[in-house]
């Protein structure tokens, strides 16, 4: 079962020689073009106004100094130099984003596959287990993060409380720079429901006869997996990886909310919230864009960083799209 977007070649290809002027064929083609334009118009307008224009404007502002009160002034490459060389948070933000992309996606895919496999093997109470595994995925990200920050509170949270029953001293989770990202990964594993469902569906789609044939050949569990299951689900795994990478590059809400809550900083006199608490360990590039643009009102630098994020996203996208051939329609 290949993952593809190509249209089944149902109808014959269109003739490509230009039609004579004012012929009925020409008029029909123009009508068709108009019709296509019409149907596509919402997206066309949206794309230009909400993507094309902002992209150009971002480039424009990256060369400007603008604090949203006085008019923008041209400053050349100063913002670029600032972000790329002088801003100490740039490195940590990049590193954290990269770390999360690699670790979170890998663990999610493996865990999701594992859970999917497990579910297909469960005989009694499948529905119950499936629901239990899926529901956390429905929790709104902010709510889930708030819940986890509470659960993993080093001193008063149930997690460390339960661990202490087993004589284990739980780590400081969201308050420890070495454990904050793993805590975020744990949170994302809790919400594995979506991956579980698609893996489950694809696992169930593998034809039973192939398993039976393999068994007759004396194949053990691992061999069955490697030679029957894996080839059949590879496209789905690839899809999960691609979407996982795309999502994690935008990772924002959970990291921001967790940092804010865990730092225990409430609005009070003279408090300045440290981005990426603790110790910049949860700071991701999208958060830094927000911080620069909407907390420091440094529009120029924020735009520079946006472009860096854009470049990375595009590079990764192209790389992954090349690997998943068939994602783009072959014919025109």
């Amino acid at each position: 079962m290949a993952l593809s977007l190509s249209t089944p070649a149902k109808s014959a290809g269109r003739a490509t020689e230009p039609a004579p002027r004012n012929s009925p064929l020409r008029r029909k083609r123009n009508r068709e073009r108009l019709r296509t334009l019409g149907f596509l118009s919402p997206w066309l307008v949206g794309f230009t106004v909400f993507f094309g224009y902002p992209l150009i404007a971002t480039v424009y502002f990256s060369f400007m100094h603008y604090n949203q009160i006085k008019a923008p002034t041209f400053v050349g490459l100063r913002n670029w130099r600032y972000v790329l060389e002088q801003m100490p948070l740039f490195g940590p933000a990049l590193w954290n984003t990269l770390w999360l992309v690699v670790v979170m996606v890998a663990l999610r895919v493996v865990f999701g596959l594992g859970i999917g496999l497990l579910i297909t093997k469960v005989k009694s109470g499948v529905g119950l287990f499936r629901t239990a595994f899926y529901i956390p995925y429905l929790a709104p990200p902010v709510a889930a993060t708030v819940a986890f920050v509470f659960l993993l509170n080093p001193s008063t949270g149930p997690a460390n409380e339960v661990l202490s029953w087993f004589g284990l001293h739980g780590p400081n989770w969201f308050n420890d720079p070495n454990w904050s990202k793993p805590s975020l990964v744990l949170l994302s594993l809790w919400g594995i429901g979506d991956l579980m469902v698609i893996f489950m569906a694809s696992l169930l789609d593998v034809p039973k006869e192939q398993y039976e044939a393999a068994e007759l050949d004396g194949a053990g569990a691992w061999t069955k997996f490697r030679y029957v299951t894996w080839p059949a689900i590879t496209p789905i795994v690839l899809f999960a990886v691609v979407t996982g990478v795309v999502q994690t590059m935008q990772y924002y809400t959970q990291a921001l909310v967790a940092g804010k809550l865990a730092s225990g900083v409430s609005i009070g006199p003279g408090t300045v919230i440290q981005p990426g608490y603790p110790d910049h360990s949860t700071l991701t590039v999208p958060q830094l864009v927000y911080s620069l643009g909407f907390q420091n009102f440094n529009t120029g630098a924020a735009c520079v960083l946006s472009l860096v994020l854009f470049a990375i996203a595009m590079a990764v996208t192209l790389l992954l799209m090349r690997k998943s051939v068939g994602l783009i329609p072959a014919e025109d």
């Binding site: 859970i115 469960v122 709104p140 708030v146 986890f148 509470f150 194949a219 909310v257 804010k260 994602l327």
Partner: protein
């Protein structure tokens, strides 16, 4: 597909008759059952316990919620009423609902024609269009947020509301377009051809024939968009933050802690109240949910 062929032993011994097997095989199956189900139960605990603890804490008293106790000493159901009456809480509900409903309607109405064109029309530039749609899907929203915010805030004076988020949804949403296209591809061409033969224009074909057939896909997309809006934090943070009257549940929940200092019990109650609608809707729309999720990657 590779096939591994090992030396074939005697098939009479290998073949497993349905139903009862030897005692050894039965024991193996029972052990297998125990193993699988113990792991499943352990994992289920991991998934379910958080909800349990959140709930237990939500009914604790103020002091107890800040200690390490697991079981509530008293059942303070009034916490939920306190949360409901927190200034702004009902506003957040109303705003989230409006955002989600309007966003969903706009998205569906604008994305269906686009997806249909991309699925069924043939034209030069279709490939380019698909690539552009997919690229937009992969785009982190933070890339274009600064100029967008400036336009909405300074040109249209719509910051402090959710309109900057809702209006763009009337112009199609890349993810929805992508999903709908996938689904519409599976509609056999014959239905469309026969409609054309009957004299229907493209628009009528779309509305009268295709849309009814595409209901599961449209339902899935609508659900996804609804929950995207419901769960959205970044959007409201950018546009609605400056006007507490326009906050949504997601954004308000995060600021909840400040309003109530460190009352974890109230915060947990609020968290459950934010999670509840999603779970309830899920139970009523299970089929569409699962269909939608499988739609995202499987059928080809």
């Amino acid at each position: 597909m590779t096939t591994t062929t090992l030396t074939r032993p005697d098939t009479a011994v290998r073949s497993r008759p349905s139903g009862a097997g030897t005692a050894g095989q039965r024991r193996k199956r029972i052990l297998n059952w125990i193993a699988v189900h113990s792991v499943a139960v352990a994992l289920a605990l991991f998934f379910v316990l958080p909800f349990v603890f959140v709930f237990l804490t939500s009914v604790m008293s103020d002091e107890q919620a800040m200690s390490g106790d697991l079981w509530p000493g008293s059942w303070n159901w009034s916490n939920y009423s306190t949360v409901f009456h927190t200034p702004g809480f009902l506003d957040w509900w109303r705003n989230s609902l409006m955002y989600a409903l309007l966003g969903t309607v706009f998205t569906v109405c604008s994305s269906v024609p686009v997806a249909y064109a991309l699925a069924k029309f043939r034209f030069r530039g279709r490939r380019t269009a698909m690539i552009l749609v997919i690229s937009t899907m992969m785009l982190p929203p933070q890339v274009i947020i600064i100029p967008m915010y400036l336009v909405w805030a300074q040109q249209f004076h719509l910051s402090g509301s959710l309109w900057p988020l809702i209006i763009p949804m009337a112009f199609g949403d890349a993810y929805s377009i992508f999903l709908l296209r996938q689904f519409l591809l599976t509609i056999p061409q014959e239905y469309i051809e026969s409609a054309k033969v009957d004299g229907c224009g493209e628009l009528r074909t779309l509305l009268k024939i295709v849309v009814p057939m595409a209901k599961p896909g449209i339902a899935a997309v609508a659900l996804f968009q609804f929950f995207y809006c419901w769960n959205d934090y970044f959007g409201p943070q950018i546009y609605a933050a400056q006007n507490p009257g326009a906050w949504t549940l997601s954004y308000g929940l995060e600021s909840f802690k400040s309003a109530h200092a460190v009352n974890w019990n109230l915060t947990m109650a609020a968290t459950l109240l934010v999670m509840a609608p999603v779970v309830i809707v899920f139970f009523f729309a299970q089929k569409a949910f699962v269909e939608g999720v499988t739609l995202t990657g499987v059928k080809g």
